[in-house]
């Protein structure tokens, strides 16, 4: 069944800006959000990409500021934006027909660490009763049900850095099957804690460019040395296109294809032959009924790690046969882990809607092993009909979304 699924609303809280327009303008600017992070002071990696101006007390109130971990705060804020953008009314919608599927890699990491420290320093009796409800990753979807009265199927997907894309794929299926009429989907991540960053750092996954954090995230560049960790939330509203048009909504783009696979190769390294990623891309193409020559834009996973970028580039070269532009918005936003696929789905929707491809920040010396038409320096005007968004997670989990113009 090829029921077209439309993106009718979008809410972004990313390091490129608070809000969809601010985020979009941020990625178009090509100015990296990576900066020194006071919370990480003294660590080997002491910089990150944070959402600017996100004050939970101001934006959500004192109770959510206290009772929700930051990954939930970011998601609820983004979801409210997305619902407003879709011109939906949560008072009158049919709640049990509204699903929520969000991706999250880490859950409430900051809460976990804070309370663990408290237990060690002050004893078990001082541990917060909110520890568990604040840290479980599924709470982000549960809270949206409470906040918006979205009481249909409700879950969180965990495929590490592909979680946000996986969520959108699953959400798409809930609409195709008829289980839901509306799904709020995307992802959220707020794992910029001293312990998490140290963990990524010990793996050698992060850039160590301490002297110049603003140029640390440099996808596809010869001098890339790892990713810059980010926090972000991205929520899209999906509906069947027919339903959306019937109520007068204006789709930004269509989710036309989704492909998923597992490398079955290594816990963290991508399979250098890219066969897992290739299968996910081919599955997304087949699902959408488009050929490998029809794709005209790719929002790459493009993490700025030495291994990912070259493996991904080679896979794209091998699989896609037409002319297509490539960008990695992670040069600006950093790598938002479980929400990366969600915010990038948002950027792809904006690219399709506005005919503009954001540049890849900091790409100064293209890696000679990478032979792609990568957009650099400034946004490129391009009419995009068919676009891919790649997301690959630790664990070898791959999720590829294919968007078409509405």
């Amino acid at each position: 069944v090829s029921t077209a699924i439309a993106v009718t609303g979008l809410g972004l809280a990313t390091p490129a800006g608070l809000g969809t327009e601010a985020s979009w303008n941020g990625v178009l600017s090509g100015v990296s959000a990576s900066a020194r992070d006071p919370i990480l002071e003294g660590l080997e990696v002491d910089f990150s990409c944070r959402v600017p101006g996100f004050d939970a007390t101001d934006l959500l109130g004192r109770k959510p500021a206290r009772r929700w971990d930051r990954f939930v705060q970011l998601a609820v804020w983004a979801a409210r934006q997305a619902v407003a953008d879709a011109n939906l009314d949560t008072e009158t919608w049919d709640g049990p027909r509204v699903g929520v599927v969000l991706g999250c890699g880490m859950g409430g990491a900051a809460t976990w660490e804070e309370q663990h420290t408290r237990m060690l320093e002050k004893g078990p009796s001082k541990v917060s009763a909110m520890l568990i409800p604040m840290l479980v990753p599924n709470m982000v979807a549960g809270q949206l049900a409470m906040d918006l009265g979205a009481t249909g199927p409700n879950l969180v997907t965990a495929t590490a850095c592909a979680s946000g894309a996986t969520a959108i794929g699953v959400a798409r299926d809930l609409l195709r099957s008829g289980a839901c009429d509306i799904v709020l989907t995307g992802g959220s991540e707020a794992g910029l804690t001293r312990l998490c960053i140290t963990g990524f750092s010990q793996m050698g996954a992060l850039s160590t460019r301490r002297d110049d954090p603003a140029t640390a995230s440099r996808p596809f560049d010869t001098d890339r040395d790892g990713f810059v960790a980010a926090e972000a939330a991205g929520v899209v509203v999906l509906e069947r296109e027919d339903d959306a048009r019937a109520r007068g909504a204006h789709p930004r783009a269509l989710v036309a294809g989704y492909g998923a696979s597992a490398d079955g190769y290594h816990i963290t390294a991508p399979d250098p032959d890219g066969s897992g990623a290739e299968r996910a891309i081919l599955a997304a193409l087949a699902d959408a009924g488009v050929g490998p020559g029809d794709v005209d834009h790719v929002n790459a996973h493009g993490t700025s790690t030495p291994l990912n970028d070259v493996a991904e580039a080679k896979t794209l070269r091998r699989v896609l046969t037409g002319d297509y532009s490539v960008t990695s918005t992670k040069g600006v936003t950093g790598h938002a882990l479980g929400s990366a696929g969600a915010i990038e789905a948002g950027f792809v929707s904006m690219t399709i809607k506005n005919g503009l491809v954001p540049p890849t920040a900091n790409l100064e010396n293209p890696d000679p092993e990478i032979d792609l038409d990568i957009v650099v320096d400034k946004p490129r005007e391009q009419r995009v009909e068919v676009a891919l968004s790649n997301s690959f997670g630790f664990g070898g989990q791959n999720a590829v979304l294919l968007f078409t113009s509405a």
Binding site: G61, R62, K63, P64, R66, R67, K126, S128, A129, M130
Partner: protein
Amino acid sequence: MSAVYEKVKLLLVDKFGVEEDEVDPTATFEDLDLDSLDLVEFALAAEEELGVRITDEEAEQLETLGETVKLLEEKGASA
């Protein structure tokens, strides 16, 4: 009102997001939109701020702010 009451009021407003004009000796925790988890948190905070411990059993019996302040004072809380 007592100094302990004022301290409790400050705690509820600052840490629990309660509106200042909602705080009243006759207000119940339910009135203030505080659930059982909040009550556990409140007991922890009260212990830190006022130096007396409310047990889980005692917390379960508490309904209004007035009762809560009375219990804290009986246990020797001083602001």
